[in-house]
């Protein structure tokens, strides 16, 4: 496997884990379980 591929995968995996440790999944879940009125062209 190319070195650049490994570096990119490691970088984004680290970002993913940093996001988890910052509690972002709860924030994302909190948004995703609500109907986004502006997203569907209403709000």
């Amino acid at each position: 496997m190319r070195k650049s591929t490994i570096i990119v995968l490691a970088l984004f995996a680290a970002l993913f884990l940093a996001g988890i440790s910052a509690g972002e999944p709860e924030r994302v879940l909190d948004q995703a379980i609500r109907i986004c009125l502006s997203c569907i062209g209403i709000g």
């Binding site: 496997m1 190319r2 650049s4 591929t5 990119v8 995968l9 970088l11 984004f12 995996a13 680290a14 970002l15 993913f16 884990l17 940093a18 996001g19 988890i20 910052a22 509690g23 972002e24 999944p25 709860e26 924030r27 994302v28 879940l29 948004q31 995703a32 379980i33 109907i35 986004c36 009125l37 502006s38 997203c39 569907i40 062209g41 209403i42 709000g43």
Partner: protein, 298 residues
């Protein structure tokens, strides 16, 4: 054969990311814990059947609320979302668009409607999606804020046809109370949906080729992604058979790392000289095709 496998994968992923079929009874969207998982393709999380979150919608919401969350001491910078799609991009790049995106599949099905086709799309339009990503997904939600410091999800609000099709229309049907709130915003969204639906009948995947910000993001990984199509230059005779079959307008033999390649494998099947092959992490997948006599003598 491979085209059937790809269609099957598209259908399976469409149902996996839209697996909440109790919505006609609940008249609401799915609100369970799976919604913390990233949808690989563009799939509106306000769609009543959606079981995952849309990465483009989530990034905009995080950007739009960044000031407020920083004021509350919360460091929600979108790392979880960008990390999720970044890993997918590093592994597959735009193969996600070709194999896993429900809206990509819808466009392909529309293109199968018989009639004259106008597949050519002006070259400059293919760069529009990068501007949509930078402006409507990141910059405007982050910087165009109201007096309270809150921004808007610009791409979802003003443009996304997938959101209108998968969420806007179904939610209006499911919740009649919402109908009196319809206005020009909804008309604008319906306009873009109709535009891309009609365009898809005449041209292959026009939204993916010109406008999709998620496709633009995955396209950034075209040179480093792990699973990719590779060109054997010794075998290539520049017959351009790969140009004729590509749904994304890629001239594979001229640019094997084109940001528009969705790894649908049509070019691999069409190449009479076995010059295109799939590889993962540098390892060739599938048997090496024997070289035809024409290619050997040329």
């Amino acid at each position: 054969m491979m085209e059937r496998v790809r269609r099957l994968v598209q259908v399976v992923f469409t149902f996996l990311t839209n697996g909440y079929w109790a919505f006609p009874f609940s008249r609401n969207i799915y609100q369970g814990p799976l919604k913390a998982i990233c949808s690989p393709g563009l799939n509106c999380y306000s769609c009543p059947a959606s079981t995952t979150y849309c990465p483009i919608g989530a990034i905009q919401q995080l950007m739009a609320g960044l000031r407020m969350s920083l004021e509350m001491g919360q460091l929600y910078l979108g790392w979880y979302v960008v990390g999720s799609i970044g890993v997918l991009g590093g592994l597959f790049g735009r193969m996600v668009c070709g194999w896993l995106c429900p809206f990509g599949m819808i466009q392909e099905l529309l293109h199968r409607i018989p009639g004259r086709k106008f597949d050519a799309i002006p070259g400059l339009l293919r760069y529009l999606k990068f501007a949509v990503l930078a402006l409507m997904v990141v910059a405007l939600p982050l910087f165009a804020v109201d007096e309270f410091g809150a921004g808007d999800p610009w791409f979802c609000k003003y443009l996304c046809p997938a959101g209108t099709l998968e969420a806007g229309i179904p939610m209006i049907l499911l919740q009649p109370d919402l109908r009196h709130t319809l206005g020009w915003l909804y008309v604008n969204k319906i306009f873009f949906l109709v535009l891309f639906v009609v365009w898809s009948v005449f041209a292959n995947r026009p939204f993916c080729r010109t406008t999709c910000p998620l496709g633009a993001f995955y396209g950034l990984f075209s040179r480093v992604k792990m699973v990719r199509l590779s060109l054997d230059e010794e075998r290539c005779t520049e017959c351009r058979a790969c140009h004729q079959v590509c749904p994304m307008g890629v001239r594979f033999n001229e640019n094997p790392v084109d940001t528009n390649c969705i790894t649908c494998l049509r070019c691999q099947k069409a190449c009479p000289y076995g010059a295109i092959h799939l590889e993962a992490g540098g390892v060739r997948l599938g048997a090496r095709q024997s070289r035809p006599a024409q290619a050997q003598s040329s």
